[in-house]
């Protein structure tokens, strides 16, 4: 099927994966996006739930949308599934404009936050429903449902009604039911929120395995950053109806664009700083209350003399009683105020000379009954300068 918007896209883009970018199709300028969202907005009266977002998702990606409560994740997903009519913008899936298609004509299936398993049907009937609506022959339905039941390990329970299942089993019914039509895209709205921690971790890997086996593009909504990091090929961080940053888990963790993203993924130490020089992607700043100058990679726009913040993850800091080597390091001094032993690592809270608290997370590599440091020890804190992140806002 062709649409006017489509022809333009196919001119210089391709659908066949480039081996060089097989695991990172978003880096391949020639690759055609599988899902394309352009200027998509949703208003409820005066309230803007989704604010003109643009997004490209590629074939076989496991894309997660992460954000706090009420930031518009579900609304965005419901627009992709067709339950919510966008106030503006277009959605293309596999080159076809689906913006005006009703849910039952979209090549998309959704797994609901509440699972929405049909209570009056057995497990088998629930999973077979989508195929029955396609009017497939009985034998084929039976065969495909049988295989799907095996995939989600529910064969023994196929005759049960949903109220005779546990939460985790019901969740697998919902997943199987959404997968059976082999949609081009599977949308999952907080698929694991109702499970306990252990089951959730186990299911995360099951989900990744299933996605790998079936080669379906997954879009997963979650508000659990750890889950997003585990699952995702890429993460889109959302706030107040808009994306703040889109990138791989390590990109959003190591190179957060702003304070919001940085503090969303784990903790980060912040230092006030002033820009001293800008030069072709490298930015030098002077930490306030000290004479330490840091030069690091930065792609944004900041003028010389403007204020910014420098962020450093706790595990990037090295804590020592002797002064570490100067070369390439940023060094500051402080006093251990608090420490917590966590087995594999220890957390130190160090009061710097300017009174600010700095968190340090240190691996406990040595086997020893006592910690190398004690309360009130004078210590040096150092970190490789290129581990500093320049943060605005």
């Amino acid at each position: 099927m062709t649409t006017p918007g489509n022809t333009l896209n196919t001119l210089n883009t391709t659908d066949t994966p480039n081996p060089e970018f097989i695991n990172t199709p978003w880096r391949d300028p020639q690759q055609r996006p599988f899902i394309e969202i352009e200027g998509l907005s949703k208003r409820f009266g005066d309230f803007i739930a989704v604010d003109a977002v643009n997004l490209k998702i590629y074939r076989r990606e496991l894309f997660t949308i992460l954000g706090g409560s009420g930031c518009g994740k579900t609304t965005l997903l419901r627009m992709l599934a067709g339950f919510e009519k966008p106030s503006a913008g277009r959605i293309r899936i596999d080159g076809v404009d689906v913006t005006d298609l009703p849910p039952y004509l979209r090549p998309v299936n959704m797994m609901f936050q509440s699972y929405a398993v049909f209570p009056h049907m057995t497990v088998y009937q629930n999973i077979a429903y989508g195929l029955k609506k396609e009017k497939l022959p009985r034998a084929e339905i039976k065969e495909r449902v049988g295989r799907m039941l095996e995939l989600v390990q529910l064969t023994a329970l196929s005759k049960r009604k949903p109220n005779q299942l546990s939460g985790g089993q019901r969740q697998r019914v919902a997943l199987a039911r959404a997968l059976i039509k082999q949609p081009k895209v599977l949308l999952l709205d907080e698929p694991l929120a109702a499970l306990d921690k252990k089951l959730r971790e186990q299911t995360q890997f099951e989900l990744m395995n299933i996605q790998d086996k079936l080669g379906i593009t997954f879009v997963v909504v979650t508000h659990d950053q750890e889950e997003a990091m585990t699952l995702a090929s890429r993460i889109a961080v959302m706030d107040a109806g808009d994306f703040v940053q889109i990138g791989t888990p390590s990109e959003v963790y190591e190179f957060p664009r702003n304070h919001f993203v940085a503090s969303f993924f784990g903790s980060i130490n912040l230092f006030d700083a002033t820009v001293t020089s800008v030069d072709a992607g490298e930015l030098c700043v002077l930490l306030d209350d000290s004479d330490t100058e840091i030069c690091t990679r930065y792609e944004g726009e900041l003028a010389v003399g403007s204020a910014c913040k420098i962020g450093v993850r706790p595990e990037k800091l090295l804590i020592s009683t002797e002064r570490p080597a100067e070369q390439g390091n940023t060094i500051t001094r402080g006093v251990v105020e608090d420490l917590a032993y966590k087995g594999n690592r220890s957390i130190y809270r160090v009061r710097a000379q300017n009174g600010r608290i700095i968190m340090v997370s240190a691996q406990n590599k040595q086997r020893s009954a006592h910690l190398p440091l004690e309360w009130d020890d004078e210590v040096y804190l150092s970190w490789p300068s290129d581990c500093s992140v320049v943060l605005t806002a």
């Binding site: 339950f83 509440s114 929405a116 039911r177 109702a194």
Partner: protein, 271 residues
């Protein structure tokens, strides 16, 4: 909880006694051999046999049943449609007004409903030459009109409790709106429709006032016959008849309760 105090317990017993002693006395006297309602003359089922030979009462009972069956069925169909429209067709102009109006017949005095329907039928007859002679047909129409409101309210309450993502999920899996209603919505509200039907059926059997207003010369429903007979004095035959009606209503209530119970059980525990 503590053990219920003796006082509360006796109050409860007293309340139930006030409610049920008259009914049980009446039922007992339907088996009384004596013609005098106040004198016990031994056990007998003669009034039940006499009842079976009373053409007038049998006719009226059959008519009442017929009206109740037809009106309950139509009221269920129309009421379900109204309930579906009010809770599923999204927002439209005048929706809240209509939601209020659908419940109004529930609190309207029967006299007013009956009188307004009578006036409607009379003017329709003058304008269109329809509905012809007033009788079973007009009573049925009247009963559909007021019991439909009960069905609509019951169905709407059920739909409001139902997770709307069930219907969305069905649509997501390729169900067109009609198929979704047939496969998902109707099976899930079926218990509510069944209890709505039973309620409409009982309301119709029970109704005296509206039927009296809208009936014509020929047609008399069972309540109308009982009422006119009682004016001439209570006979053991009436006792027997009422006992039968009570038995029928009890069975109806039990079935309705069973449907409700099943509906509660069918709902999965919330996650």
């Amino acid at each position: 909880m503590n053990r219920p105090s003796t006082f509360l317990y006796s109050v409860l017993c007293f309340g139930f006694a006030v409610l049920y002693i008259p009914v049980f006395v009446l039922m007992a006297y339907s088996f009384n051999d004596s013609r005098l309602p106040t004198v016990w003359g031994g056990f007998s089922t003669r009034w039940y046999s006499a009842l079976l030979e009373n053409e007038q009462i049998l006719q009226a009972a059959l008519l009442s049943l017929e009206i109740a069956l037809v009106s309950a069925t139509f009221a269920t169909i129309l009421g379900t449609m109204a309930g579906l429209a009010l809770s599923r067709v999204g927002r439209f102009r005048g929706r809240s007004v209509l939601t209020g109006m659908i419940a109004a017949p529930l609190v309207m005095p029967d006299v007013i409903t009956g009188l307004s329907l009578l006036l409607l039928f009379v003017s329709l007859q003058e304008l269109l030459g329809w509905p012809g002679n007033r009788g079973a047909n007009t009573i049925t129409l009247a009963h559909i009109t007021f019991s439909m409101a009960y069905v609509a309210v019951i169905v709407q309450a059920r739909l409001a409790n139902m997770d709307q993502s069930l219907e969305e999920a069905a649509m997501d899996l390729g169900g067109r709106p009609f198929a979704v209603t047939r496969d998902i919505t109707l099976p899930l509200i079926a218990p509510a429709m069944a209890s709505g039907w039973l309620l409409a059926f009982t309301l119709s059997l029970d109704d005296l006032v509206i039927a009296s207003f809208t009936s014509g010369a020929g047609a008399s429903t069972l309540p109308m016959v009982i009422f006119s007979k009682v004016k001439l004095g209570v006979t053991p035959e009436i006792n027997a008849l009422t006992t039968l009606v009570i038995a029928a209503v009890t069975i109806g209530v039990l079935i309705s309760g069973w449907f409700m119970l099943r509906q509660l059980r069918a709902q999965p525990a919330p996650p």
